[in-house]
Point group: C2
Chain length 417, copies 2
């Protein structure tokens, strides 16, 4: 989908945290789920030197303990040296004990890796409402410290260790030619269900070896997250643990200065990596069969455009019709109507289009249905990727959302854990 | 569920519009879907004299042509003599032609029944985005006029003719002892999918033979709708055609005056009929296996309590876990957290309770999970009816919502029409 900037060749595989200068990392199986298997579930990302950090987090009011810790660390300006992540348990809705456990994770990792407690940031993902198995986590951290020291090439396991219901690894990297030399940006993410990000998505960890001051790093990340991780939905359930962290090691010695063309290039590269990771999360949505790009134009403002896109992308009736290859545009119009956005039947137009650059076919134009085009809609909607374009005729507001269908498989998959 | 007021014995069957003095009606198969079958799909409700009317309507901005007509008629103070309803086609998103067709329906019925056009109110329900088959509708109206004149006891068919994906008729009646004598309130409703009413639900038609002035009738209906039709959800999709109409014929000669005990009695009886009809809509939700009563207490205000109840009742992950008999309370807490309501993990309590008057079992109390109660939750959640009670510890706000689970059958049923 992202072909507009051939200068940045997006690399999707292979990926190791170590490929960005100044970073290393790894993962192992700590049996956090208690199943006694060897599934990777504990990962560390390390930096040789203190990093500049940026982050965005869930706005869910039941935010997990590790989210609250990272948020506080970011606000207090602490320079991180490492991120410790576990899957299999979200450490959410765990009260005072959860906060104590998250801090104990920090302390154990700090001791094992020779850092200060506040230099180790922690993230968790998995089941909500159960206490962390601290004994197995602490044992895992000890083993991780030994392994990271002795094995150079095991970093790629980290991207696997953060997965839960995902079926595949989600990584992306890019080399950005700045004026003083090239820098790298790499990212890994996880997420397949409970996906309706708001200020951030599930988990995504991004690294760069560029030298970037904190204000610029945060504003770049904030802008980019809006149109990547915050522009996707699988099931409309915003998680308690959404976290995106971006660490800049500065190891390349190449500086990205505010207000320069380098800033635009850096942001564009970061945007490409984040959009790629976000697209992978949607594409790996739980038991989905389709990814639909929803484009809203001519809304009264961007906020209303986003509300329309969300209403459509989260409508059960729209999602099930997509699953059934049914071009049931009436359900799209219904969702549009209850989105809260200002609009009228007499100003709205709707079209279907194939994924990519294919031509849009009109469906509904200001009160008139182009029923003669139905065979074309039917063909498009039967594809695994397509696009719907809605123009509201109200103003300049736009939005783009990647959404999925809803299958019987999703219900079956989530009916029990 | 409604046992609190034994003075009003709620009657669920049989039901005919004619049982309320001054009303008659009927229905027949007009083949609106074009399937050539004999499914009832065109109904008329008639009053011997001009009625006082009250109504509430969808707030969907793509409101169907008949909704806009009824809304205008209500605002202009016209006294209706009849309501003509078709199922099988919503006459929504049909532009200028849809409005012309709806007015032609009015005109045809007015001529057939000897009324003025504005005395015939029209409602439609069914597929969105297709023009009405006006030839078959007009033929149907002619036949209806002949039939209503010749058959006294065919009124009960009307409650069947308004159904779409419903599996059963939804009716309720009550006799209310006012100070000057008894009056009747009767209602019929339809709805099973696209159920997330906002100011009204799918279709419900209520009649009474009481003498009630319009302001009192409208305020009574408005109050009652909030806690009945506006307090249910099946799939979170607010329809383009939601309409509730209440007609008072005055045929009993018994007046219900504002500010009297009669007003309270009348409103209570109306409330019981509407809650019964709303409960039947939820209970007939498309391919559901459970109805869950969500009680929110101690919210900062009622609006936030309602937002919490909706977030939980419409969460795909919560609904699928109910379907799987999984007491996955973490998903409830997640939905609570993104509802937008003010709250904190340290003030929230959650309990499960059996339907009816059974005792609540604590699940989560201000950061602590009562895991020892898990066997009891599991038993409750496996039942077809149960209740969840959430106290937010913020204030006096409350809400009650009836919600359903989400099954593979719902997806299968809605994947194509």
């Amino acid at each position: 989908m992202d072909t507009e900037n051939p200068a940045f060749a997006l690399e999707r595989e292979p990926f190791t945290p170590a490929e960005v200068a100044g970073f290393s990392g790894g993962a192992l199986a700590a049996d956090i789920r208690g199943h006694g298997d060897d599934r990777l579930d504990l990962a560390i990302l390390l930096s040789e030197r203190p990093c500049t950090a940026a982050g965005t987090f869930t706005r869910n009011r039941m935010a997990a303990a590790p989210v609250r810790i990272c948020r506080d660390l970011l606000n207090s300006g602490v320079a991180p040296r490492g991120i410790l992540v576990n899957s299999g348990n979200a450490n959410a809705c765990t009260g005072a004990r959860g906060m104590k456990d998250a801090m104990a994770m920090q302390a154990a990792a700090a001791q094992a890796f020779g850092l200060r407690r506040e230099e180790v940031w922690v993230c968790s993902t998995g089941r909500i409402g159960e206490p962390l198995p601290m004994d197995r986590i602490c044992t895992g951290i000890q083993r991780l410290a030994t392994a990271v020291g002795s094995t150079a090439a095991f970093g790629e396991a980290a991207a696997d260790a953060i997965l839960t219901s995902d079926t595949c690894r989600k990584v992306a990297s890019v080399t950005v030619p700045l004026s003083a030399g090239p820098v790298r940006i790499s990212g890994m993410a996880k997420g397949a269900g409970m996906i309706e990000p708001n200020m951030a998505t599930m988990l995504a960890f991004l690294t760069t070896d560029a030298v970037v001051e904190q204000g610029l790093l945060q504003s770049s990340l904030g802008a980019v997250v809006e149109e990547s991780f915050n522009a996707i939905t699988v099931d409309g359930d915003e998680s308690t643990n959404d976290t995106v962290l971006l660490l800049a090691s500065g190891a390349s010695g190449v500086e990205c200065r505010s207000g320069t063309e380098d800033e635009m290039r850096f942001r564009e590269a970061l945007r490409r990596v984040c959009r790629e990771l976000a697209a992978r999360i949607v594409g790996d949505g739980e038991r989905i069969t389709k990814v639909v790009e929803i484009l809203i134009q001519e809304a009264a403002n961007d906020a209303e455009a986003r509300a329309v896109a969300r209403a459509i992308g989260n409508s059960l009736l729209v999602k099930t019709s997509w699953y059934g290859n049914d071009p049931n545009w009436g359900r799209i119009m219904d969702a549009l109507g209850y989105s809260g956005a200002r609009l009228g039947e007499e100003t709205v137009t709707l079209g279907y289009a194939p994924a990519g650059e294919g031509e849009e076919v009109p469906v509904f134009t200001r009160g008139h249905c182009h029923i003669e085009n139905k065979p074309q809609w039917q063909r498009m909607v039967a594809e695994p990727r397509f696009r719907i374009v809605l123009r509201l005729g109200q103003g300049e507001g736009t939005a783009r959302l990647l959404a999925t269908d809803l299958s019987e498989g999703y219900v079956d998959f989530n009916k029990s854990e």
